[in-house]
Amino acid sequence: MTKLKPVDAVVVGVGMAGSILAKELTDAGLRVVGLERGGPRETQRDFAMPGIHDELRFARRHELAQDLSRETITFRNNPSQTALPMRRLGSFLPGEGVGGAAVHWNGMTFRFLPWDFETRSRTNARYGKGAIPADCTSQDWGVTYAELEPFYDRFERVYGIGGKAGNLDGKIVPGGNPHEGPRSRDYPNPPMKTTYVGALFDKAATSLGHTAFPLPSANMTRPYTNPYGMMLAPCLYCGFCERFGCEMGAKASPQTTILPVLLSSDRFELRTRANVLRINLDAERKRAVSVSYADAHGNEVEQPADLVLLTSYVFGNVRLLLLSGVGRPYDSARGEGSVGRNYAYQTLSGATLFFEDREFNRFMGAGALGRVVDDFNGDNFDHGGLGFIGGGYLSALSLGSRPINSHPVPSGTPRWGAGWKKAVARYFNRSFDVDAHGACQSYRDNCLDLDPTYRGADGRPLLRMTFDFHENEYRMSDYLASKTQEIARVIGPRHIDVDRRTGPYSIVPYQTTHNTGGAVMGADPATSVVNRCLQSWDVPNLFVVGASAFPQNAGYNPSGTVGALAYFCADAISNRYLKHPGPLS
């Protein structure tokens, strides 16, 4: 084993959160090492035309996502089952390699609602204590929207988000989301263009009394230079965004917003194919002294550091805490412990519209191109008598349809053969979805822990996921699906198929890469792993950053909030922790 010279900080996982923390801490004068389990990835070398426009390689074989032959998770719907390994990617696509999942993401960049950060206290205040189901463990975050606002703003500047403000300093602005929390200023870039699909959705939604606005997008809407001096090119609307790298550098990612500047700093060193095995603690288990990783040759290397930042995907952060014995593992039978508690996901529903005459050029698009209605998200509507809490946004998206993965056919179409072929030819370009992107509350039995049987290629236990939707989510899905159906009927296609969540959660069909929780933030060490600054309650020189900190998932895409939390954490470290190392309040 090799033991290296100490550095000021080590960042475990060089994706969205890791690149932000590394940049901010090197700017604060620290010497930082970034450890990334996967390989290097750069726009010009790795995302070049024409090979990057290959649906089979990237959207079917998932070349930019995690290689499960080395590490996966195991899954079961409830504690009475035996968890079995996720042998192939399906429901979600964690990243691997420099940039992480923020390379193959779409770029949908929302802010959560003020209500989302105070789910429990505001629900109790408005609807009484009976409104939250008994086994629901959703809680307040320990941080408010107002406290995060400057950091949302910072992230939107760095990632060049295009959108339209709906609430500037408390004043409602036409054209934006009237439900959003007050913003200090508008988005740095204008919204994306409106497609035919978007225009039809807008008209129908408006006629029903809803308010439609452009989806906030990390696909550049004009040439843009961010606060670090990185120049991003405008989006071409080519439709190869989700699951692909952008050959134009027009999608904000660590590669296009931060890494080239960070890598030019002599205070930062990136080590790829460095798979962190554990955090090493001191004898009293109150301080992280180093991390140990396997390098590309399998050799174990120890990197001492004054500060350790876990910034990998949800599963990596939680697994490393459990393997290192940091904090108390969550026991769902007893409802005790915190590491692995409050794993949550996303509840998707919607309607598919099939037309005979209209064509929509569905192959054109961008990862975060769409029109949105937020009137049924969070607590933006009266839940009295509905039997659920939370909600989601409704949208019509134009992400770019590619024919292997997207060839919708109306219900009743033969599964294969001439009838199938005829329907596919007919509807590939004559159909679209109205989606409902719903929240997911946390529950006592939905959690992450170490699997007792299955191991990774590194010989260590895999993370085990226990998850299912609960009655609250089924009711919410039913409600939101009905709203998409109403909009679809007004648009008036020949045929509508409605998709509501029924039956157990399945890990097989792709849903969304919005896994959350397991190392949640909060004000109470009994029910959280990190404090409001994302600092471990047990090991104060350890910070755990990412969607692993979400106590439950809101009805939005999580990345905007991951970015805001990363900047909030960086600010707490730079301006407070470094002056007085120790527990922050």
Binding site: A48, M49, P50, G51, H53, D54, E55, L56, R61, H62, L68, S69, T72, R76, N77, A83, L84, P85, M86, R87, R88, G90, K193, T194, T195, P234, C235, L236, Y237, C238, G239, F240, M248, R358, E359, N361, F363, M364, G365, S398, G400, P403, I404, H407, R415, W416, G417, A418, K421, K422, V424, A425, F428, N429, T453, Y454, R455, S506, I507, V508
Partner: protein
């Protein structure tokens, strides 16, 4: 369109660069003949000849040739499947492959220890044996309606195979059929981009920033593949995006 066909025929060696199209010459007929001649039987890396015969017969039923155009067999999907099985997909290179191998719930996903290579190899033998018992013929020799019955039986699990779960095999075959029909021709299927032409997918994307705001105006272009770009058969812009030949412009 005529110009494009000429270019294609040239690449096939049917026309010399200087030749002109004679009166009464049917480009479509020549194209079909030429494509068939040039493609010939696929060269196989993994599949046996008997397996190829089975797969081509199944593909002809799953996505048949009809008045809308060629089907999966004509699109060379068998060659695509052979290539996939010969490569990393065939051995589950990026899948989790450690035991124990237990049967799970549908929600937990496929837990079979068999790789796609092993599934194809075992299932084709067993389906042919099953057909032999019931019809006295191999699958490829059955009438189309009988083949449909067998495929339906595999899909719905009413046919039991001894070593492979029948719906698992059907799902693999059907998934690969769709992939080979719609994937870029660089992977060996979707010959002459017939899958893309069927649905109106332009392939490798051009710059759509302007057209995307033309609501209700269908965009029709001759599809462009990665192969077309690698072999410099189409014009590209300064970023390497193809300049699509739009149908309205070429007709």
């Amino acid at each position: 369109m005529a110009h494009d066909r000429r270019e294609f025929l040239k690449t096939l060696g049917v026309l010399s660069a200087a030749s002109t199209i004679a009166p009464g010459f049917s480009p479509e007929a020549a194209l079909v003949r030429a494509a068939t001649e040039v493609a010939g039987p696929p060269t196989l890396s993994f599949l046996t000849q008997a397996e190829l015969v089975f797969i081509e017969a199944a593909l002809a039923r799953l996505i048949p040739a009809d008045e809308l155009g060629p089907g999966a067999k004509e699109a060379g999907v068998a060659a695509f499947i052979d290539g996939q099985l010969a490569g990393g997909f065939g051995v589950m290179a990026r899948a989790y492959r450690l035991g124990p191998w237990l049967e799970g719930t549908p929600e937990q996903g496929d837990q079979s220890a068999l790789t796609p290579r092993e599934i194809y190899r075992a299932a084709i033998r067993e389906v042919d044996d099953d057909c032999d018992r019931r019809y006295g013929k191999r699958f490829a020799e059955l009438a189309a309606s009988e083949q449909d019955d067998v495929l339906r039986g595999l899909d719905e699990g009413t046919i039991a195979l001894s070593s492979v779960n029948a719906p698992l095999f059907f799902g693999l075959l059907w998934g690969n059929a769709q992939e080979g029909f719609f994937a870029d021709p660089v992977h060996g299927g979707n010959r002459d981009k017939v899958g893309w032409k069927l649905v109106g997918f332009p392939g490798v994307a051009a710059v759509y920033a302007e057209h995307i705001e033309r609501h209700g105006e269908a965009y029709r272009a001759d599809p462009v593949s990665i192969v077309d770009l690698q072999q410099k058969r189409v014009r590209v812009d300064e970023h390497g995006h193809p300049v699509h030949t739009r149908a309205a412009e070429s007709e």
